[in-house]
Amino acid sequence: MIELLRTLDRAVFQAIRWGAIVSLLAILLLLSLGVFVRAVPVFSMSGYDEIIELLMAWMTFLGAAALWREGALFRVELLELVLPARWARWTTRLVKLVMLAFAVTLTAKGWEFTAGSLETVPFLAVSKQGWYAAMPVAGLLMTIYAMVGLLNDRPLGGGTIEPLPQSTGQH
């Protein structure tokens, strides 16, 4: 059972990772195409900003859930470094509780906002709920990660930026 959950966790993380990569690439291509089509008007590019908004919303909120799992959201680690270990553990628990409360609120209020939206996207003529749904979905994932974090009692990770891996040609 635990192994199945771990496999599921890895699969979700990989899906978010690749989703973010594809979203970023799509944003870049759509914007570049926008410039090209304005210079050489071979076809119309109306409504591409709506797709970009969709990609950006899902990349940001789901991506934030993935970084939450990695402990990679920016935070100040000062207190953990200066407090004695026992106090630091209690501080970490308190932080995890605050994060859980936020995650539950984002899920509930994100869902309420999404379900209550009557907006439609002008060009694509579809409901905007698919755009807003990024929040409750990300909130739900964050809630799960927050509960797992509270149970396993591990320290939170730091949000420092890591350099690109060697495989990308970084020196």
């Binding site: 990772r17 973010a20 990569i21 979203s23 970023l24 944003i27 870049l28 914007l31 570049s32 926008g34 410039v35 900003d49 970009i52 908004e53 950006m56 919303a57 990349m59 940001t60 909120f61 991506g63 934030a64 993935a66 970084l67 990679a72 959201l73 920016f74 935070r75 100040v76 000062l78 207190l79 501080t91 970490t92 308190l94 932080v95 605050v98 994060m99 409360a101 936020f102 609120t105 984002l106 209020k109 994100g110 906002f113 209550g116 755009w131 807003y132 990024a134 929040m135 949000g159 420092t160 930026i161 890591e162 350099p163 690109l164 891996p165 495989s167 990308t168 040609g169 970084q170 020196h171």
Partner: protein, 430 residues
Amino acid sequence: MIAIAVFAALIVLMVLGVPIGIALATTAGVVMFWMGGFDLTIMLAQRMYAGTTSFPLLAIPLFILAGNLMNSGGTTERIFAAAHLFVGRIRGGLGHVNVVSSMIFAGMSGSAIADAAGLALVEIEAMKKAGYSAKFAATISAVSATIGPVIPPSIPFVIYGSLANVSIGTMFLAGVVPGVLMGVAMMIVIALVARRKNLPVMEHRPTGREAVRIFAEAFPAVITPVIIVGGILGGLFTPTEAAAIACLYAFALGFFFYRELSMAGLPAILWETARQTIQVMFIIAGASAFGWILIQQQIPNAVIDGILSLSTTPWVVLLLVNLILLVLGCFIEAIAIMIMTYPVFLPLMAKIGVSPEHFGVIMVLNLMIGLITPPVGLCLYAVSTISNVPIRDLVSELWPYVVALLVVLGLISYVPEISLWLPRQFGLAA
């Protein structure tokens, strides 16, 4: 009183170690609940969504991507080699090369972190090989990375322009002279330190043929700001689209010209860019909700009244605003500060006759100093991670450069022409 309680709650959450975006959103959520019960907390979702999907902010991932493509595609090394041609033979030359490289890199990437996490890697290695201490090399790299967002293109100027309703092209031009001034100030300090510490002088002098080859290789990278800023000012593309063009150009350079980028390496670059983007955008989401409660509670007016009650003399008000921004910069992430404070300071600046373009430069320079001041100095963290030099060692070496940047800040604050001269030449500032 409410203003003090709100900011105190935020700072307590952040110091406890709650991620910055969540600390901002949680504080906002609690105030919303206090203002209107559970019903009003729906604004948390509404503001967080609105904060992340504004069109000009799309430039953020793209300028980060441009920086990462340069770091991975061999552009960074060419820039470093070209800078070496110009200033490498002075005593402590690689320190100067480090600063000039960052100034050139700044013309392609709008992100200090892309400089601190990428270009700094090349700079620190080269300086260590040449006999400089890791501490000195890492410090200069962290400090010089702060030039990135002042010389165009610039992510903070994109955000400021979209928030303050100021032309982003004008902001880009307004950053050029201050950015160069920052570089000159850092080089003066390096020259003084080089004399005192008897830092090494490079003995190898490139031949004429070598110099031409190095310059020719770096030239396509060096002209990038001309393409980006020229395209924006010429009306060819918006700043967001300019960021996309910068990415395509950086990709073309790395893939076709320098041939150091591979398709297989792209997913890692894109994921790293997405990670850095999400870290920033999630803070913007939280800050957007926080900014909303500030306005609802009329906190900006209270802060303005508070500052004006101390003094109405423009230079004193400007000094107080600088001090507030510098102190906030020690504890809060730069973009969050910008989103939280622009509704407070922009009307205040209007009252004392400081133009929004001029104030934009002042604010961004304050925030860049915040990137290298502990405890929350993101450039310090980034450089410490890649160089394995502890933060405390960086901080002990850092202070002369911070003093130099404060002098530049003073000049920029009290001599508006430094920021506004170039935009005026293009008819873009009053």
